[in-house]
Amino acid sequence: MSHHLVEVEDLCHVYQDGTSALNGVTFRIHHGESVAVVGANGAGKSTLLLHLNGYLLPRSGKVRVGDFPLTKATLREVRHAVGMIFQDPDDQLFMPTVYDDVAFGPFNLGLPAEEVEVRVMRALETVQISHLKDRPPYRLSGGEKRRAAIAAVLSMEPDILVMDEPSTGLDPLARRQLIALLKEFHHTKIIATHDLDMVLDLCERTIVLHGGKVMADGPTSEIFADDRLLATCRLEKPLSMQGCRTCSAK
């Protein structure tokens, strides 16, 4: 199943103002893997994600999604394969109602109206918000908006889900529900986040970015056990691995 593969090879990116965001990033993600991309602010996470759905095209280095190298000619296929969930759901939910928004992608894929209807309802049921389908997005709570944004991507039936900070702005219960929901998905998942506890729950593999480079790439449990690595990359152990402060103080 090579079409679930994400391959990045020696990817570099320099912004127009001269800031260099990526300096030779290389990794390979296989079918069904769930991978966290962690790193400090400005480590290059967002820039990397923008390459994965072809918003930025590689100037030097290569990106390969499934059977396609990322170029202008393959944008359509790549964007079909990669579902991108943005950090701020307000940026993503631009249509007048939740239903219309979830239908936006399938319509662009050129699907007939009946198929769109089926896919929209299926996606809404998956994230359990079918009762909100006729509501305008600005009337939703943060958790509902996040679910709607996920449904909007699921309806395109992508192979790979790319998420930018999916847990920010959610209350603890909504966050917990989101984690449970994402756990059920069998897609290849790439999650950029600062929520390291969520990484522990969701991702068996972690890629640590620092200064536009891959500092470490391996099993999540090993990476979070490496105190020196975490300190150099301005990271910290997930709270759940830190031991209880109240108990140890006694």
Binding site: G54, Y55, R76, R79, F94, P96, D134, R139
Partner: protein
């Protein structure tokens, strides 16, 4: 200068009203838009000195309000927002047009005052009807109807996007204004200068957001085609609604009902 959050919440209330379920709400948006259009044409096509002949038209907005279960008081408050503009448009008429046209007892009424009243009445009628239209159809429904009736897609999209992000923008502006207020300690917060920079920032953020929305659209395969869902529900009810009201408007337009009724009453006495 204070950007209040109250205003846009009231807009949200208009939206909430439109999600009710009454016979008026259930009508196809197109039927309502067409009828309102005919209503508006009929109202504005009167001679500028006519006042009394306009009065029967009030039955249409009232019918929408009553059948659509809308709070009249709320709509009147919304109407009050546009009233100053209407007054500004009409206020010079009494000053310029002083020709006496009407004699009521010992009071002479000039043409200017008559046309001023006429403008006022027409505006109140049309604005109230428009508000009732949006409150029974929803802004999105009105846009969809206009789109289906052949308004260029660019305009309907522009309207939809404007409406969608109005709330986000108002929120952002409100937060920035609050942040400024909290640090200005009762002073005017650096006056116009900091206000200019605040508005500038808001504009830059808007560009930024537009860029992000476009990215989101692209990543879902946007290629310039926009699909709006079409609810097609044009049946007998819609046809009767349009035809019935239109006939009534035409009747009101060509027969001066108040004069006619007055004629019958006084005529009966003679």
């Amino acid at each position: 200068m204070k950007i209040s959050g109250g205003n846009y919440l009231e807009l949200g209330y208009l939206d909430l009203l439109s999600s009710q379920d009454t016979p008026v709400h259930r009508l196809d948006p197109r039927a309502k838009v067409i009828t309102v259009l005919i209503f508006t044409l009929a109202v504005i096509s009167f001679d500028r000195y006519r006042v009394a002949a306009l009065l029967p038209f009030v039955i249409f907005p009232l019918a929408l309000i009553i059948l659509g279960n809308l709070p009249l008081w709320y709509l009147l408050r919304r109407l009050a927002v546009v009233l100053p503009f209407i007054l500004l448009v009409g206020i010079f008429n009494p000053l310029i047009d002083r020709e006496a046209l009407l004699q009521v007892g010992s009071v002479t009424i000039s043409g200017g005052w008559l046309s001023f009243c006429s403008i006022l009445l027409r505006s109140v009628l049309t604005v109230l009807t428009l508000l009732a239209l949006v409150a029974t159809t929803g802004f999105i429904g009105v846009c969809a109807a206009l789109d289906m009736l052949g308004m260029p897609r660019v305009f309907s999209l522009q309207l939809l996007f404007m409406y969608r992000y109005l709330f986000v923008l108002a929120d952002e502006g409100g937060r920035m204004a609050r942040a400024r207020e909290l640090r200005s300690f009762g002073n005017r917060g650096g006056g116009i200068q900091s206000f200019v920079s605040l508005v500038g920032h808001l504009l830059l953020r808007t560009f930024d957001r537009a860029q992000k929305i476009y990215t989101a659209m692209l990543s879902r395969g946007f290629q310039g085609q926009f699909h709006l869902r079409r609810q097609i529900g044009f049946g007998y009810g819609e046809i009767v609604f349009i035809a019935g009201w239109s006939c009534l408007f035409i009747l009101f337009r060509f027969v001066d009902i108040p004069a006619f009724v007055g004629g019958i009453i006084t005529g009966a006495g003679r």
